[in-house]
Symmetry: C2
Subunit: 125 residues, 2 copies
DNA sequence: ATAGCAGTTGGAGTTAACTCCAAGTCAAGC
DNA sequence: GCTTGACTTGGAGTTAACTCCAACTGCTAT
């Protein structure tokens, strides 16, 4: 698969794909004789993983560390597990905070609806 | 309340508080005769709101628009309500995505635990 | 009245994560 | 063999959201 095919399929720009690779977020992408990237299914799975983690808020740096550990071989299994567990915990906290914020917004919107129903009575903010 | 008091109380740096004010995220903060900011309880409530929304991912720009509408008076009640509803919807989507990512991480961590238990069998990535 | 500290400003600097660009290479079709 | 279009690289530019800085002002305590 060429970079533009992966780009379309994963909805990530070619520039970003190259950027991720350079940053160490992809494990050795194959090249054709001419030096052109030739992505495998496995690469795509990994790219999807990176995309998912990035959009959940994991930093490039954390993902770089994860793949760096990966390259060091299986004696880093525990370290990788722990890295993921740490990120999971942070994510869980943001998740709960988000839940609270959603409730807060729901409440605020309901207050707005009441204010609008009551002849456009102004609110504090 | 002085800026440093609010800073401690809300755990936001004085620089950020001034930055927010300049960006239009705070409705007219009072000043002493000498030109020093004198925050009210109400200001703090608003700052807390901004902090909460910011950490949920609402942009400075969106919050600026919200407070700009506010300053225009009560004929913007509906517009403000709709702005909040739009952001709420986006938040909800991120919330659900995060939920999926949490599950994915849980699964991945469990796969790691199995791999470690099975004599450190290496994984795909 | 002077030292010292907290506050003020405008503007410059920083960071993360892209995003764009110029100059060059390569494979395919005419 | 030449054009065309997708690919390559290193490096510069961009954006959002702070964060820092220098120069200045103004209370407060000695």
């Amino acid at each position: 698969m060429t970079i533009s095919e992966v780009s379309k399929r994963c909805n990530i720009s070619p520039d970003t794909l190259r950027y991720y690779e350079k940053a160490g977020l992809l494990l050795d992408v194959n090249r054709t004789a001419g030096g052109i990237r030739d992505y495998t299914e496995q690469d795509c799975t990994q790219i999807e993983f990176v995309k998912c983690m990035r959009s959940a808020g994991l930093s490039i740096e954390v993902l770089r560390k994860y793949f760096e550990l990966f390259k060091r071989g299986k004696h880093t299994l525990k370290a990788r597990r722990d890295l993921l567990a740490t990120e999971r915990k942070a994510l869980q906290e943001r998740f709960l905070e988000l839940q609270g914020t959603l409730k807060r917004l729901d409440y605020k919107i309901s207050v707005y609806d009441q204010a609008i129903a009551s002849k456009n009575k102004e609110l504090k903010f």
